[in-house]
């Protein structure tokens, strides 16, 4: 029947907008088609023409009445099936989403608070993830880098030892390198100081690193006579040689020696760190016994050979090292390198930041957790106020699953918004983190926030959304319809939900306490550091590195004369109060260590390694200029010259340690490689040589100072590179330029570098502590704010719920003060419960911070008490407004509520 087809078409078209379940739609269409058929037949039977009958029949469908009526009937009663069962899940999702956005827009305060809390948590975690992925997850930029290892637990070997390891090892291909080979580049405009590393010829092969230009080192390139070669970093090639490809094969003057450029590394190559500007071969000459076995102790790395395990390599290096002791041409202590082992190179490179990473990750994780708890608590409160809405929706036929999905959509939407804002925050947090972890951290400088972060944040957002949305959603969807509708959603909220919120808030406060205590401890530690007396006065002191080639000092007199003249001329510059020179500055990071034999302390070479000392080489005004007190004896004078009787000044700590209760003046020490004893003529006050917190490496046993003309390095040379130290008047802006000019006049091949104030050195040494403290202050501040908001939310909500009860109390004679106290006590109870949990947790957790604390116990009672005070203030603050409101309740109004 052709008409039926037409009716069906017309009806189906009208039902399109309804999105009915297909079965239901077919049913309706069938029923209506039959009706229209019958009507049409009747009209024909009564004498209408076909066209007339058709027109009249279709009139019954005209207008939007059918759609509107069916929409209200079908939709209000029967919800679409859920999730996977839904024929159009995406349609339902977009509907949920639109609804969620509408609901969130309707309460902008709540939305802003929730999104901000989450952004803080998610942003921090995204930043942390970028760092973590770079440091702990992303492999080192070398092929098969998991097989790269490094000798650890000391693990420093002389050139002869390296050669022995290379020859004897069956489990590894061993390479050595010696960082901190700074050499002058001359003949290219102004003389320039470059930072370099000397490496064994196989180092690039062991790493698996290729050159960008030219060739790498080959076997034999580290043999004497063939080792005047250099490989440049990409940056030096670009900046100093204008990226000229013809550089390969050219001979350049480096450290006063001609070296042939054989290669240029790619820009990404940064071994051992990204400050390295060139690589030269190690000088391995077995005929020079002293150089081969007694100097240039260096770290070694290796690549595990195919089929060998880390454990095998660890056993092997132990036994090889033990047997190596016999090879030394002088009696080497039996305890030398006794605990040596090999560990994965990556593990070694992150060992110094590992703990910091863990601590920061924990802290940032806590912030996210607090944010989630806070949002969950906010959602719970909202769920309570939306109870009537939910009950109505349920009454209209929405299933529990349907409501759950709607609420979860809302919380995931919140989380995604938080995530988006979080990414913006993350890039800010990221730069702060980089500073906190130390910029020289392996691979960190090249870390970017990439797609992984976006992915991570998205996943985290959704998980967070589900996590904090679940409890409130469950709570909101489980309700007693009749009770809710009858009471208008006011008092049926139930004690259970109140308890859940209280527990959440107690947890939140506890977490905030942990962060606040951590921040407090770090602040105190920083405060203690700031009050440390470094042992010298850094104000108004300018320092300039002046570094002639070591070859200039082959004639000691030449170097001595150069610096004498430079000091004399510098002293003449107006505004200069005092000037001295030293081989190193306190807190400048390089450690001029020399093995020293101390009189009265028998040194048995075959038993022990000689004690290492911080060995300063200074000109006479050094102590006066630095305001380092001479506690006994005398300072150096100009008569302590090259040929006069050798003398030293020792640090007070060294004197106490080696000659307790004795007069150190007149005692003697000598470098282990020198025969002549040096007499102690003075005792200088202790100086924080390494950093303010005095984290000197374990192997440093004290400090000695030698007069510059008599001084000696571990390489048995006069130090060539010295730092000019100038105490100036107020105005010394042009001083660096004038000193540069003086040096250039004296010797144009001597570069001047590292111009800075002594104060900046001191400040820099606490930079990481400061940034870490700042991070914790931010975390703790955010946590406390969130906890306060959470507490306020719970207390003010429960006060609103108790309006009736409070009305009764007032009616029965409770005073305003009683009511005020009642509400405030509730806030205090919550916070104090959280405080108790938090303090106990802190006692357990802050031990992790101990490594970052200076002169501050991880359980410092002062900080714990202070935090208790802060939290009580938070409780009073959070409870004050609701308490005021409660005290103002008019019993007549309150009792009339229902």
């Amino acid at each position: 029947m052709p008409e039926s087809v037409k009716w069906k078409e017309e009806i189906t078209k009208r039902l399109e907008g309804l999105r009915l379940a297909p079965a239901r739609e077919a049913e309706i269409v069938e029923e209506l088609v039959e009706h229209l058929d019958d009507q049409y037949e009747l009209l024909l039977a009564r004498g209408s023409t076909e066209a007339e009958a058709r027109r009249i029949t279709l009139e019954g469908l005209s207008g939007s009445e059918l759609l509107a009526e069916l929409a209200s009937v079908e939709r209000s009663v029967k919800p679409e099936p859920l999730g996977a069962l839904s024929p159009e899940p995406l349609g339902a999702l977009s509907k949920d989403l639109r609804y969620a956005l509408r609901m969130l827009r309707r309460s902008p305060g709540f939305t802003a608070l929730a999104v901000l809390s989450l952004a803080l948590g998610i942003g921090g975690n995204a930043a942390m993830f970028s760092v973590l992925s770079a440091v702990l997850i992303r492999p080192l930029p070398y092929p098969d880098s998991a097989r790269l290892v490094r000798a650890a637990n000391d693990g420093y070997y002389p050139p002869g030892g390296l050669v022995d390891l290379q020859r004897e090892s069956r489990t590894m291909d061993v390479a050595g390198f010696n960082a901190g080979i700074d050499l002058n580049l001359t003949g290219q405009g102004d003389a320039w100081r470059l930072e370099g590393t000397s490496v064994s010829a196989n180092l690039f092969d062991v790493l698996g690193a290729g050159v960008a230009l030219g060739r790498g080192l080959r076997p034999g390139d580290d043999q004497p006579g063939q080792d005047d070669l250099v490989i440049l970093s990409h940056a030096v090639w670009r900046d100093k040689f204008s990226g000229d490809p013809a550089i390969i094969g050219r001979v350049i003057a480096l450290g006063g020696v001609g070296r042939q450029v054989i290669g240029v590394m790619p820009p990404s190559f940064a071994f051992p760190d990204d400050a390295t500007e060139f690589w030269i071969p190690l000088h391995l000459d077995p005929r020079d016994t002293a150089a081969h076995w007694a100097r240039g102790f260096m770290p070694v790395i290796a690549r595990l050979r195919a089929g060998t395990t880390l454990e095998q390599a660890q056993h092997e290096i132990q036994s090889l090292t033990h047997h190596m002791i016999r090879l030394f041409p002088y009696p080497m202590g039996r305890d030398w390198n006794a605990a040596v082992t090999v560990i994965p190179l990556r593990q070694f490179m992150v060992s110094n930041v590992r703990l910091k990473l863990i601590v920061l990750q924990c802290a940032i994780g806590l912030v996210l957790l607090i944010a989630c708890v806070n949002v969950a608590s906010l959602l719970l409160a909202r769920a309570a106020s939306r109870q009537k809405e939910m009950a109505l929706r349920a009454a209209l036929g929405a299933s529990r699953g349907r409501i759950l999905r709607q609420l979860l959509t809302e919380s995931v939407t919140l989380a995604l918004a938080g995530g988006a804002l979080g990414i913006a925050l993350a890039s800010a947090a990221f730069s702060l983190l980089k500073v906190a972890l130390g910029v020289d951290m392996a691979g960190l400088s090249s870390v970017r926030m990439g797609w992984q972060v976006v992915l991570f944040v998205s996943v985290l957002s959704v998980l967070t959304g589900l996590a904090f949305g679940l409890a409130p959603a469950l709570s909101a969807s489980r309700h007693d319809l009749a009770a809710t509708i009858k009471t208008g959603g006011q008092r049926s909220a139930g004690a259970a939900r109140g308890r859940v919120r209280s527990v959440l808030i107690i947890g939140e406060v506890a977490l905030a306490v942990v962060l606040a205590v951590s921040a407090g401890l770090l602040i105190k530690s920083l405060w203690m550091l700031a009050r440390v007396n470094p042992g010298f006065e850094a104000e108004q002191v300018l320092t300039v590195r002046v570094s002639p080639n070591q070859s200039l000092c082959r004639e000691r007199a030449a170097c001595i004369a150069l610096f004498n003249e430079l000091l004399r001329r510098t002293a003449d510059i107006p505004g200069v109060h005092d000037v001295a020179a030293a081989n190193t500055l306190p807190m400048a990071a390089d450690i001029p260590a020399v093995p020293v034999v101390v009189e009265g302390h028998p040194y048995v070479p075959a038993e022990h390694v000689a004690d290492m000392f911080w060995a300063g080489a200074v000109t006479p005004p050094y102590f006066r200029l630095m305001r380092i007190p001479i506690l006994a004896g005398r300072a150096f004078t100009d008569s302590d010259a090259e040929k006069s009787a050798p003398v030293v000044i020792v640090s007070a700590a060294m004197a106490r340690r080696y000659w307790p209760g004795q007069n150190p003046i007149g005692k003697h020490v000598r470098p282990v490689f020198a025969a002549e004893w040096r007499a102690v003529v003075g005792v200088a006050g202790d100086v924080r040589q390494y950093d303010l917190a005095n984290h000197s490496p374990d192997y440093i046993n004290g400090a000695i100072y030698m007069p510059y003309p008599q001084s000696v390095t571990n390489e048995r040379q006069l130090p060539a590179a010295m730092t000019l130290i100038v105490r100036t008047g107020a105005d010394a802006a042009d001083l660096p330029g004038r000193i540069r000019g003086l040096v250039k006049d004296l010797n144009p091949d001597v570069p001047v570098s590292e111009i800075r104030t002594l104060e900046s050195l001191v400040t820099d040494s606490t930079r990481q502590s400061r940034s870490m403290t700042w991070l914790f202050i931010v975390f703790a501040g955010a946590a406390l704010a969130l906890a306060a908001i959470g507490t306020y939310g719970v207390v003010s909500y429960s006060t609103a719920q108790r309006t009736f009860e409070i009305g009764v109390r007032v009616a029965l004679g409770a005073s305003r003060r009683n009511i005020f106290g009642l509400v405030l006590a509730q806030s205090l109870r919550l916070v104090i419960a959280g405080l108790a949990v938090g303090i106990i947790t802190s006692l357990a957790l802050t031990r992790m911070l101990a490594a970052f604390l200076y002169d501050t116990a991880a359980t410092d009672p002062m900080i714990f008490f202070a935090i208790c005070g802060v939290l009580v203030a938070v409780a009073l603050l959070a409870g004050y407004v609701p308490a005021r409101r409660a005290a103002g309740i008019d019993p007549l109004n309150a009792l009339r509520v229902d």
Partner: protein, 117 residues
């Protein structure tokens, strides 16, 4: 013959009485939608006329409320049709609506007749 287009007053009356009409028609025996619409039109002599677009949504609504119940019935030689019958709940509603309607009509009558008397 064309159904008369009811005026505004008729529409209001119809709306208020539509449920009552439908419930009454399925009180004694089950009927399908077209049957119901035809009976209303015939018995009112064309004064009352339900469009398809309003009749069926109303049937569905009554069904959802549980006042009537529809069932597909197949008779030999005919296509299957959906028949609606009154439920127990519907019976109570109908009784109450009838009383209300009678009260209303009597009241209207008293007022309008008094004016003519």
């Amino acid at each position: 013959m064309r159904p008369v287009e009811p005026g505004a007053f008729d529409r209001e009356i119809k709306k208020g009485s539509a449920e009552l009409l439908i419930l009454s028609l399925v009180e004694v025996r089950a009927r399908h939608g077209y049957d119901i619409s035809r009976l209303i039109e015939e018995r009112s002599k064309g004064t009352l006329c339900f469009r398809v677009a309003s009749l069926y949504p109303m049937l569905y609504r009554l069904e959802k409320r549980g006042w009537i119940r529809g069932r597909w019935v197949e008779k030999t030689g005919q296509r299957r049709r959906r028949y609606y019958r009154l439920t127990e709940q519907g019976r109570e509603v109908l009784a109450s609506q009838r009383r209300g309607w009678q009260v209303f009509v009597e009241a209207i009558n008293r007022i309008t007749e008094a004016e003519h008397a």
